[in-house]
C-alpha cells in the first residue's frame, strides 16, 4: 500500500496496516510516515530509501533513535506470496539483494513538484540534476508562485513562499512593498528549501517489466523501441507509445519519460516534459454520476393536459402533448376536429410586442410582406427569410395601436426573434422596443365546425362570420373575467379561433372551454393530430417542410413576398430576386400514394437512377382516405402528374410510387375556414 493508505487506516479508522511493515520510499514524507506508524505501535522492520542523499538529517536521527534500520539507495524489488510473506529489497543499481519477512509493504517512490499550472502558462522547465526535479527556469511576467508548485514541501517554507508571492503580486499592481518582499525572501532563504527528490525513474534490470505509464501499459522497453525507430524526442515517443495519454494526465510519465529517454540516449540534458493540458486533475467519476437536471419548459396547462390523458414528447425545450390516446395515428382526435370541435395547446408559439416610432420599419425589415398594410381588426400572415431567401419563420402580426404591434413566431424561433430583429437593424438608429411575451401568454386553438358555438357560450358579442370573419382579430373578455386576444386562423383547415390569454389564467380558460364545450363533446387534440390536419390542408411547418436549399419561391410561398418595398431592405429580398426564376432549383410538391393505404416514412428518398429528392412528411389521411405527403424534389419532377419512385430503408429493388398532385389536399376552396 501507499503511505497515505497506511496512514488513513491507522489515523482515520484505528486499524493497523499490518503487524510487521517494510517501507520502500523515496522522499522525506515516507520517512515521517515510518516514524509515525512506529510511534503508534506498528513494528517497522526497515526503511528502504531509493535516495542516497538529501534526506532530512533530523528524520534520519529519529529513525536511528528508534532503532529502525534505514537502507539508503535501496528499494523493494519483489513481493512474495499471495498474502505477503516477504519482500526482496535491492540496491537501485541492481548489485545487491536481501529478503525481509513482513506482512505489509508500504511503498512510495516520491513526489514531484506540482508545477503543471506553471507549465500551462508556458513556463520553461529545466531538469535540476541536484534535486531530481523539473523546475521553472524563470516565471513568466506577472506570475508569482509559491508552495508545492515550486516543489516546496516543508510547511513553513510553503507558507513563507506563498506570503512572498502574494507580496510580489501586490507590488506588481503598484503597491510599494519592497521592504516586506525583501524580508520575506530572506526568511525563505533561512528555511529548508527544496527537498531532494528520488532520481529513480525505473526499476533495476531484472526479469520483470518496468512500466513507465500504468494507464497505457507502456514499458521502458517500449520507449527504447520508439527511440530505435527514430522517435527519439519526448513528444514523438509519447505519441508512438501513448505513454501519458491515459486518465492519469501524464502524471508519472510526464516526469519520467524525458529522463528515461535521456538515459537511453546518454544525453546530459533531458528535454523538458511534454505539454500539459487541462484538466490538471481528472474529473471525478462522482461528478459525472451526480445529478443531471432535465430542465424543460412546461406550458401553463401541462398538468391539466396530463389529467386529460396527454402523452408528452420533448419538442426543443418544451414538453408538449403529442397524443391524447394510445392510438398513435390520432384518428379520433383528427376526426373530432373535422366533424365537431377540438382544442390544442399552442402556448409554445413565440409572442411579442413591438412598439415605438420605428416599429413598423423593423417589421418591414424582417418580414417579406408589406407590414404597412395591416387592416384594423385583422391579422396579417407573413414570413421571415434569411439572407439566402430561405424561409426561417412565419407568424401573424396585428396592429394594436399607433406604432404598437403584437406578433407571433414559430415555436422554434421564439428565442431567437429579438436578436434577429436587433441584428438586422443594428446599423439603423431606429427607436423601437421589443418585449418577449412568449411565456406571458398562453394560447389555445379551438378548431372545428362547432368552435364558434362553444366560444359563443363564453364570449359576449357577435362572433358570426360577418362580424368576426376569417383573418379577423378581436380582444374581448371570456367568462366576464379573462381578457383574451383572439385570431380567426385556419392552420388545421377548419373554422378556428386562436385564443391568447394571460398565462396564469390559462388553466381557467381551458376549464371554461371544456365546460362550455361539454354539450358538443369537445376533446383535446395533440401535435400528431395537428400535423395530419395541417398536412391535409397543405400548410407547411417551418423546419419540417423547409430547409437550407429551399427559398420562399421553391416552397410555393412567393406570393407572400412584397417586392414593392425596396426601401425597407427586407432581409432575403436580394436573394429572392436572384433565385425567383432560377432554373434547376428543388421544389416543394404535394403527392398522393398509388397505394392509398401505404404512406412512406418521413425522410424516405425520391429516386430514379439517383437521389432526386426526399419526403418531408407523409401520413394516411383518414379524412381523404388516401396517403398524402410533401416532398422536396428536383425541378423536373415537380410537374403535376409526375410519377415519383420512393425508396425506404431495406427496400431492395422494391419502390413505393406516388403522383405529384395539387395542394391543398383538403378543402382547396377554403370554404371550411369561412364558415
Amino acid at each position: 500500500m501507499q503511505i497515505g493508505c497506511a496512514h488513513r487506516l491507522i489515523r482515520t479508522y484505528g486499524v493497523f496496516p499490518g503487524e510487521c511493515v517494510v517501507f520502500s520510499i523515496g522522499h522525506d514524507l515516507g520517512l515521517e510516515a515510518a516514524l509515525d506508524l512506529f510511534d503508534l505501535g506498528v513494528h517497522v522492520k526497515c526503511v528502504a530509501d531509493s535516495r542516497t542523499e538529501s534526506q532530512d538529517p533530523r528524520l534520519l536521527e529519529a529513525l536511528s533513535e528508534r532503532k529502525i534500520p534505514i537502507l539508503p539507495g535501496w528499494m523493494a524489488l519483489k513481493a512474495h506470496g499471495k498474502t505477503l510473506k516477504k519482500v526482496t529489497l535491492g540496491t537501485t543499481d541492481g548489485t545487491r539483494f536481501t529478503d525481509f519477512n513482513c506482512d505489509t509493504l508500504v511503498a512510495s517512490t516520491g513526489l514531484i513538484p506540482a508545477n503543471d499550472l506553471l507549465s500551462l502558462l508556458q513556463t520553461k522547465m529545466t531538469y535540476r540534476r541536484d534535486m531530481g526535479f523539473f523546475l521553472p527556469e524563470a516565471l513568466p511576467p506577472k506570475v508569482f508562485a509559491g508552495g508545492g508548485v515550486l516543489g516546496l514541501q516543508h510547511p513553513q517554507a510553503i507558507e513563507v513562499s506563498g506570503h512572498s508571492a502574494g507580496l510580489e503580486a501586490a507590488a506588481a499592481c503598484g503597491i510599494p512593498l519592497t521592504g516586506l518582499i525583501h524580508e520575506a525572501r530572506e526568511r525563505l532563504q533561512d528555511l529548508r528549501g527544496l527537498p531532494g527528490g528520488s532520481k529513480l525513474v525505473r526499476a533495476p534490470e531484472g526479469e520483470g517489466k518496468s512500466f513507465i505509464c500504468f494507464d497505457t501499459d507502456t514499458t521502458v522497453e517500449n520507449i527504447h523501441q520508439a527511440c530505435d525507430m527514430g522517435f527519439d524526442r519526448v513528444e514523438l515517443a509519447k505519441r508512438v507509445t501513448a505513454a501519458g495519454t491515459g486518465p492519469g494526465q501524464g502524471g508519472i510519465p510526464g516526469h519520467n519519460l524525458p529522463l528515461v529517454l535521456s538515459e537511453y540516449l546518454e544525453s546530459s540534458r533531458p528535454e523538458p516534459p511534454t505539454t500539459v493540458r487541462p484538466p490538471l486533475r481528472p474529473t471525478l467519476l462522482a461528478t459525472y454520476a451526480g445529478s443531471h437536471y432535465d430542465i424543460v419548459k412546461k406550458t401553463p396547462i401541462h398538468e391539466a393536459q396530463e389529467k386529460s390523458g396527454g402523452i408528452f414528447r420533448r419538442v426543443g425545450v418544451w414538453k408538449r402533448a403529442r397524443y391524447f390516446s394510445r392510438d398513435f395515428s390520432s384518428r379520433d382526435e383528427i376526426e373530432n376536429v373535422r366533424n365537431n370541435v377540438g382544442i390544442i395547446d399552442v402556448s409554445t408559439l413565440g409572442k411579442f410586442r413591438i412598439f415605438g416610432p420605428d416599429a413598423l420599419n423593423a417589421l418591414q425589415r424582417v418580414y417579406v410582406g408589406d407590414m404597412a398594410r395591416i387592416p384594423e381588426g385583422k391579422i396579417k400572415y407573413s414570413v421571415m427569410c434569411n439572407e439566402d431567401g430561405c424561409l426561417i419563420d412565419d407568424g401573424v402580426v396585428v396592429k394594436r395601436g399607433e406604432n404598437d404591434y403584437y406578433f407571433t413566431t414559430s415555436t422554434g424561433r421564439a428565442s431567437a426573434t429579438i436578436e434577429w430583429i436587433r441584428y438586422h437593424t443594428r446599423y439603423e438608429r431606429w427607436d423601437f422596443h421589443v418585449v418577449n411575451l412568449t411565456d406571458d401568454f398562453g394560447a389555445l386553438n379551438l378548431a372545428g365546425p362547432n368552435a364558434r358555438a362553444v366560444l359563443e357560450r363564453l364570449a359576449e358579442g357577435d362572433l358570426s362570420q360577418e362580424n368576426f370573419p376569417f383573418g379577423g382579430y378581436r380582444e374581448f373578455v371570456l367568462g366576464k373575467t379573462v381578457p383574451v386576444r383572439v385570431m380567426r386562423l385556419g392552420f388545421v383547415g377548419e373554422l378556428s379561433y386562436e385564443i391568447h390569454m394571460p398565462a396564469s389564467f390559462m388553466e381557467t380558460v381551458w376549464n371554461l372551454l371544456f365546460d362550455a364545450g361539454g354539450a358538443f363533446r369537445i376533446r383535446p387534440f395533440g401535435l400528431e393530430a395537428q400535423n395530419a390536419l395541417r398536412l391535409e390542408k397543405g400548410h407547411i411547418i417551418i423546419g419540417q417542410e423547409s430547409e437550407i436549399r429551399a427559398t420562399l419561391h421553391d416552397l410555393g410561398l412567393g406570393l407572400l413576398w412584397s417586392r414593392n418595398k425596396p426601401e425597407a431592405k427586407t432581409v432575403g429580398a436580394p436573394a429572392l430576386r436572384f433565385t425567383e426564376h432560377q432554373k434547376g432549383r428543388m421544389k416543394l410538391v404535394g403527392f398522393e400514394m398509388e397505394n392509398p393505404a401505404r404512406p412512406p416514412k418521413d425522410g424516405a428518398i425520391v429516386v430514379d437512377d439517383a437521389i432526386r429528392g426526399y419526403v418531408f412528411t407523409a401520413r394516411y389521411s383518414f379524412t381523404l382516405e388516401k396517403s398524402i405527403g410533401f416532398a422536396l424534389v428536383e425541378e423536373q419532377l415537380a410537374e403535376l402528374g409526375t410519377r415519383l419512385a420512393i425508396f425506404e430503408d431495406n427496400m431492395g429493388e422494391d419502390r413505393l410510387y406516388a403522383e405529384v398532385v395539387p395542394t391543398p389536399f383538403y378543402d382547396p376552396e377554403g370554404q371550411r375556414l369561412k364558415m
Binding site: 430542465i295 412546461k298 412598439f355 404598437d404 418585449v435 412568449t438 411565456d439 406571458d440 367568462g479 388553466e507
Partner: protein, 210 residues
C-alpha cells in the same frame, strides 16, 4: 363550476398551512414544514412591469427611480427597479398587491411572463454557487444588484438583495415555462442545506425589516 383562479407556474410538494386569494392568485403565506430556513419562496404572483424607452430617465413617474447603469437596482417601499440595459428596466412590486400601471407605451405588464423565486438564507452564496457560475459575492458590486446569466443552464435575471439580520435574499426570475423544472432542481441541489419551500410571509417580513 369553473373557478377563476390564476395559477403560479410553480407548485411545491409541501402542504400549505396558511394561504389567501389575492387578485385571483392563491398565495401560500406559510407551509406546514417550512422550518427556519433556508427558504425557497414562490413570488411568481407579484406584479411585474417591463419598461423600455430610449430615454429611460424621462419615463413617466418612474424615471428617477431607474438606476443609471445596467445591473443597478433600487428598492423603495418594497418595489424593486432593475436596469437591464441602456433602454430597458424591470419593476417588481414585491410588497404591493395591485399597483396601477401607467398608461404610457413604455410599460408592459409582464406579471405572467416569468417564474420568480426567492432564496432566503443565511448562506445564500453557498447555495447559489452550486447552481450558477455567476459570482454573486463579487466585491465589485454592492447589493442590491442585478446579474443576467445562467442558473441551472437557464437564462435568468438574478437580483441580490442586501443582508438584513442574518439572512440574505436572492431573487431568481426565469421564463415561466421553466418555473417548475427550476424549482425542483433548486430544491434538490440545495438539499444539503435543507432548502425548503417557504411561504410568502417570511419573505415579506424579512423585506420589511429595517
Amino acid at each position: 363550476m369553473v373557478m377563476y383562479n390564476r395559477r403560479s407556474p410553480v407548485k411545491y410538494p409541501s402542504l400549505p398551512r396558511k394561504k389567501e386569494i389575492r387578485d385571483g392568485w392563491e398565495v401560500v403565506l406559510e407551509y406546514r414544514d417550512q422550518g427556519t430556513g433556508p427558504f425557497l419562496i414562490d413570488l411568481s404572483h407579484i406584479p411585474k412591469w417591463d419598461v423600455q424607452d430610449a430615454r429611460l430617465s424621462n419615463v413617466e413617474s418612474w424615471g428617477e427611480l431607474i438606476p443609471v447603469l445596467p445591473g443597478g437596482c433600487t428598492v423603495q417601499n418594497g418595489t424593486l427597479v432593475s436596469r437591464m440595459n441602456p433602454t430597458q428596466a424591470v419593476i417588481w412590486h414585491l410588497l404591493q398587491a395591485d399597483p396601477v400601471m401607467p398608461q404610457y407605451p413604455a410599460f408592459t405588464d409582464v406579471t405572467d411572463a416569468c417564474a420568480l423565486m426567492a432564496v432566503l438564507a443565511k448562506d445564500v452564496f453557498a447555495i447559489m454557487e452550486k447552481v450558477t457560475p455567476l459570482d454573486l459575492s463579487t466585491p465589485s458590486k454592492k447589493p442590491p444588484f442585478l446579474l443576467q446569466g445562467p442558473v441551472l443552464r437557464v437564462r435568468c435575471q438574478i437580483v441580490l438583495l442586501d443582508r438584513k439580520g442574518e439572512y440574505m435574499a436572492v431573487l431568481i426570475a426565469c421564463s415561466r415555462g421553466f418555473g417548475q423544472s427550476m424549482t425542483e432542481a433548486l430544491l434538490d441541489a440545495a438539499k444539503e442545506w435543507d432548502l425548503r419551500p417557504g411561504g410568502e410571509t417570511v419573505f415579506r417580513d424579512w423585506l420589511k425589516e429595517e
